[in-house]
Subunit: 205 residues, 2 copies
Amino acid sequence: MKLYEFAPAPNAVRVRIFIAELDLEIARVHVDTRGGENLSDEFKSKSVNGLIPLLELDDGTTLCESVAICRYLESTVATEHSLFGDTALEQAQVEMWHRVVEFQGLVPAMQAFRNITGLFKDRENIVEAWGVESRLRLVEFLPTLDQRLANSRYLAGDNFSIADITAFSMIRFIKLLKIELDDSLPNLQRWFEQIAQRPSIKALD
Amino acid sequence: MKLYEFAPAPNAVRVRIFIAELDLEIARVHVDTRGGENLSDEFKSKSVNGLIPLLELDDGTTLCESVAICRYLESTVATEHSLFGDTALEQAQVEMWHRVVEFQGLVPAMQAFRNITGLFKDRENIVEAWGVESRLRLVEFLPTLDQRLANSRYLAGDNFSIADITAFSMIRFIKLLKIELDDSLPNLQRWFEQIAQRPSIKALD
């Protein structure tokens, strides 16, 4: 297997954390997305969404979309706890919290970043006012995570899950938007510092 | 179990189709989201994201997020094929196509609708230029689905899946944005007409 990625991108970060949690080693291929390497016909023939990360299996089958890649990778190893939840209810709760983090956290973070910085204005129309609005909604969302973590060890319950991985990657990324976890978010701060000690995070390069 | 919903919303539609595919009957509770009923403290205490649909289990446990609800519901019944895929690779392919449809289809559709119509301007800031841009990106995305359906019976492969349900609900919804499947999208047209014949779709009210 080979993982095509642009290492600093939050979607690449969350897949690398997931891989380290599974104790897998996978060859990585650098794709210069900032320079537009993912816009080539060759890359687009492999990736439905034209984005990294992209997983290529040994038989040439390719999978894009971070969460699809994680789901497939977990199926290849035995784990004590699934990062997608064990029981049917836990799986639903992981899905719920993961989607809340994605739709109210990661999506606005990406839209804020792209529309405020204009990093990809060579290939997409930018609406700066939407970037500003997205950043605002993201800041207003963080207390939801803080309140949850006042009553729960991890976002989806007692076990570390992909919801924590995505939330951690998102919070690490939004420093670029000058959003820091201040003292109004004590539970989120504590959780973030605790997650940062995991070997899978310390191994990030 | 009880399902809280606002029937015309695309997320409510896709969960109702999913429920009908499973041959389940679940009591439905109308929530007047247009009138802001979901903004009440009572509703917010049940729903992490403050949105419909919301599933309440008999023990009072609640689940929001459409896909989390679908995942839980499928676990309560025996099915020949899972709507989330059977083998590990199929599950990853369903996840991939479902997320492509959500992030490049449903998300822009919702953002276009809310920002162009201003339907919720009593409770959120509107950026009309982003609505227009989102509509444009959505129109540019539809050929990806058409090309896929030139070579595949359903979006994720040989079996009908949640990716088809979400795509169908999205295409039904974007008529409100004056986007129709014209003759430049013959495969998508054919697939849409075929899906529309399923009993789960005909049962929609």
